[in-house]
């Protein structure tokens, strides 16, 4: 599995998900990101061949706008809970779409997505493939870290 393959999978998954269910055009990749203060980050683990971790960060304003598109509502009327719920599902779908592209012949299982807070330990340091886009409402970064067979397995996610 090459870096090019994974990057293409990330790009394709993001475009596919945002176009189908959020009615947003495939966003352009951006290389330099100005750190946003108010962001939401979600994390989930996958149990496939190989297993891995997925993370998605986006500006809160982008999360609210994207949630509004998904629910067919005005952004002003989106509640915090609705924004969080949609963001979790967005991450779930992008991760699933990435893995379906990478692991097309294997079965994978996704753990439940969760919002990362300061209290939750950061995922083990390691190389992850990152891909950042401008959604039109703020930047969104997706990252995937796949285990290689020479590395020790991470702990199974209990769900």
């Amino acid at each position: 599995m090459t870096e090019t393959t994974i990057r293409a999978a990330l790009a394709g998954a993001v475009a596919d998900v945002l176009e189908s269910m959020f009615f947003r055009e495939a966003p352009a990749e951006i290389r330099e990101v100005t750190p946003e203060e108010d962001t939401v980050t979600i994390h989930l683990k996958s149990d496939g061949d190989p297993p891995g971790c997925f993370r998605m960060s986006l500006a809160q304003a982008a999360a609210n706008a994207i949630a509004a598109d998904f629910l067919g509502e005005d952004a002003e009327s989106i509640t915090v809970q609705e924004s969080t719920d949609v963001t979790l599902e967005l991450g779930n779908m992008i991760c699933g779409a990435v893995l379906s592209r990478i692991e097309s012949s294997a079965t994978f299982r996704l753990g439940a997505p969760r919002v990362l807070t300061d209290e939750i330990e950061e995922a083990a340091a390691g190389e992850s493939m990152r891909y950042t886009v401008e959604t039109g409402s703020g930047p969104m970064t997706v990252a995937i870290q796949m285990e290689t067979r020479t590395c020790p397995q991470t702990e199974k996610y209990a769900y």
């Binding site: 176009e19 009615f23 947003r24 055009e25 598109d69 067919g72 509502e73």
Partner: protein, 175 residues
Amino acid sequence: MEQIIVGMADCKVGHVAGQVLATYALGSCIGLSVYDPKAAVGGLLHYMLPDSGIDPERSRQNLYMFADTGIPKLLEQVCGQGASRRRLVAHAAGGASIMDPQAIFDIGKRNYLALRKILWKAGILLAGEAVGGGSSRTVRLEIGSGRLWLQEGGKQKELVASFPQKGEIRWPTGS
């Protein structure tokens, strides 16, 4: 048969049986047809760009130029003539890449996504569509029957056969 031409950045509504709303040269533009078969009221919008935010002054002069101002206005107008939003049957045509074959600006696709977003928010799913590609299209909507024709690449086809006319009873097959 009264033919009513819908120009670029234009919209017409019909409520008289026999009227035919027609729009031509749908390239990157989108032609949105909506029809209420019970009220026998329909409308056809031909818009050019997705978002009025890029030129608010222009949208004030002609709100049919943009998806986000034109589509709500179309729905308001057909409902004003007695259509019910819940009963509307919607079709879209256009969104092609004619002047932009490598889709660098991708206006056609952006127009199409804007359409889907606005219809989703308005609570309407598309019943059919003929979008993308590189051909120009023509759409005709007949009021009364609800018949819808699409012309593309020199060929015409009927997208929607007629709905039952007011007062007409259609027996289920086999009865």
